[in-house]
């Protein structure tokens, strides 16, 4: 397939003597979500944080392509990287405190992302924030409340609204429902699924949870000790895992 939006090649991150991730490569096209599954410490979040620009990789390349224009993510300076994170690459973190300023309002968090992208007209910013909060099903009468007063599920919804505010090309989701109560998590998961379907965005979903991966992705890579040990169709991984570690992972999930 030559229709990639994101291409990661040989992505490697060492923390001193510790291997974060090692020689990880994959493509993701617009309108599809790639799952990365593995236990904690497998390196899956390291991959995501390198792509997000939160940490610098030791080796490797990642390119992002929109029509004829290609950007090498790891060759940007700090200000270019910040600009990219405003309009092109969005991250939804497990902990909403990483993606939001909890002291300011839901509307304010979204307005911040919009103004960073050049929005100036107050009325239009309000209208766009309202539209986004409505889309993620946050009650509009809470729009001006500080996010710190919101429940975990609602905070995650605000983080999603902020992440999609400028129609990103790439959406990175790091354990987006981990830590939420089961019923709250399933509501947030439904929301993410429908957003992925309507946005035509390229997405990478990192999770240790097979339920999350199987609901959101059709393709998956399994990471273990920093390396991709298996890749395949998501239902194939669950029905016929090939690698020794994948077989253990699936057997454990089945209980």
């Amino acid at each position: 397939m030559d229709e990639w939006t994101l291409r990661a090649e040989g992505l490697t991150k060492h923390f001193g003597p510790v291997v974060g991730c090692d020689d990880v490569s994959f493509d993701v096209a617009a309108g599809e979500a790639l799952g990365i599954i593995g236990e904690s410490g497998s390196g899956k979040s390291t991959v995501l944080r390198c792509l997000a620009g939160d940490i610098a990789p030791t080796l490797g390349a990642a390119r992002l392509r929109r029509r004829a224009e290609t950007v090498s993510l790891f060759e940007l300076d700090a200000s270019q990287r910040r600009a990219l994170r405003v309009e092109t690459v969005s991250v939804v973190y497990q902990d909403p405190a990483e993606g939001l300023d909890l002291r300011i309002s839901a509307g304010g968090n979204i307005a911040e992302r919009l103004t960073a992208a050049g929005w100036r007209h107050f009325g239009r910013i309000r209208a766009r924030a309202r539209e986004l909060l409505e889309r993620v099903e946050v009650p509009l009468d809470r729009m001006d409340d500080p996010v710190v007063t919101f429940s975990g599920g609602m905070r995650q919804r605000v983080q999603l609204a902020k992440a999609i505010a400028n129609n990103p090309l790439l959406l990175l989701l790091d354990e987006p429902t981990t830590g939420l109560d089961a019923s709250v998590a399933s509501g947030v998961l439904d929301l993410i699924r429908s957003l992925l379907e309507e946005l035509d965005v390229a997405s990478v979903v990192v999770s240790h949870d097979m339920g999350v991966i199987s609901m959101l992705t059709a393709r998956v890579a399994v990471m273990h000790r920093g390396r991709v040990v298996e890749r395949g169709l998501t239902d194939q991984l669950f029905e016929d895992p090939q690698d020794a570690y994948s077989q253990k992972l699936v057997a454990a999930a089945r209980g």
Binding site: M1, G232, E239, A244, Q247
Partner: protein
């Protein structure tokens, strides 16, 4: 009925082995399978449980990874793709457009309405947004699922109702090849008859079917050819009336 000379599916020298790392053991599931299916043919797989019938369907659907051999699928544009080695992206595209799979073990997508599940399947097969609702309604009516259930999530439905949602989604805007694994297992007599009628109609209009039915009466009534599996190999092949004695099919 179409008389296309080209097979829609050509399986050759297909092998499937499972290697279980935890106990360092290899299990042979399919050996040297050769099989050809043309448009408008309904090939039924029969054999004892464990013979490899479902495994063969899953190797074609690629929820199992074939160990060796080829699974050639001819697509509507006449291109041929080897499902045994196709990339995941190509497989996803093939599954959406050209291949259907209905299994008694497959649960419909949860937390969506029945109508939504079936409409999505229609759109993936290229039905326009404007026609998807009509096509989905017609498909659900055909499998006899009451309209009052269409707005509910499949999770609250009985096994037989879920089965019919899968059948509606799997058979509308029919793909070139339909894989059926016990599609009537959970159905009552009346629904069983209407589903068998639906499968017969699809085959008449040119869809190729590869099926597994526990019910030998259904095999005798519907199949144009029977393939007998034993221990992962094809041991006999032929006319259903000859292979499935009528006393077994009652």
């Amino acid at each position: 009925m179409t008389t296309s000379p080209h097979p829609v599916l050509t399986v050759s020298a297909l092998e499937k082995r499972f290697y279980l790392h935890a106990i360092d053991r290899e299990v042979d599931a399919l050996r040297g399978i050769d099989l050809t299916i043309r448009p408008g043919e309904h090939v039924a797989l029969v054999g004892a449980s464990g013979a490899g019938k479902s495994t063969l369907l899953k190797c074609i659907w690629r929820s199992y990874v074939p160990s060796a051999g080829h699974v050639l699928l001819r697509r509507p544009d006449s291109s041929v793709v080897d499902l045994a080695s196709a990339s995941e992206q190509v497989m996803i595209d093939v599954r959406q457009r050209d291949l259907g799979y209905v299994s008694q073990f497959l649960r419909p997508e949860q937390r969506r309405s029945v109508l939504d599940v079936v409409q999505r399947a229609a759109r993936r097969r290229g039905v326009s947004d404007g026609d998807a609702l009509d096509e989905a309604s017609a498909a659900l009516t055909r499998v006899g699922l009451e309209r009052k259930l269409w707005a509910t999530s499949p999770v609250v439905l009985s096994g037989g109702e879920q089965q019919r949602v899968n059948l509606a989604a799997g058979t509308l805007a029919p793909p070139g090849l339909l894989l059926l694994d016990e599609p009537i297992a959970a159905l009552d007599a009346q629904n069983r008859e209407s589903v068998l009628g639906l499968i017969a109609e699809l085959v008449d209009s040119g869809t190729a079917v590869l099926s597994v039915f526990h019910d030998l009466g259904a095999v005798r009534a519907l199949a144009t050819r029977v393939v007998v599996l034993d221990g992962g190999s094809i041991v006999a092949e032929g006319d259903p009336a000859v292979i499935v004695p009528s006393e077994l099919a009652s």
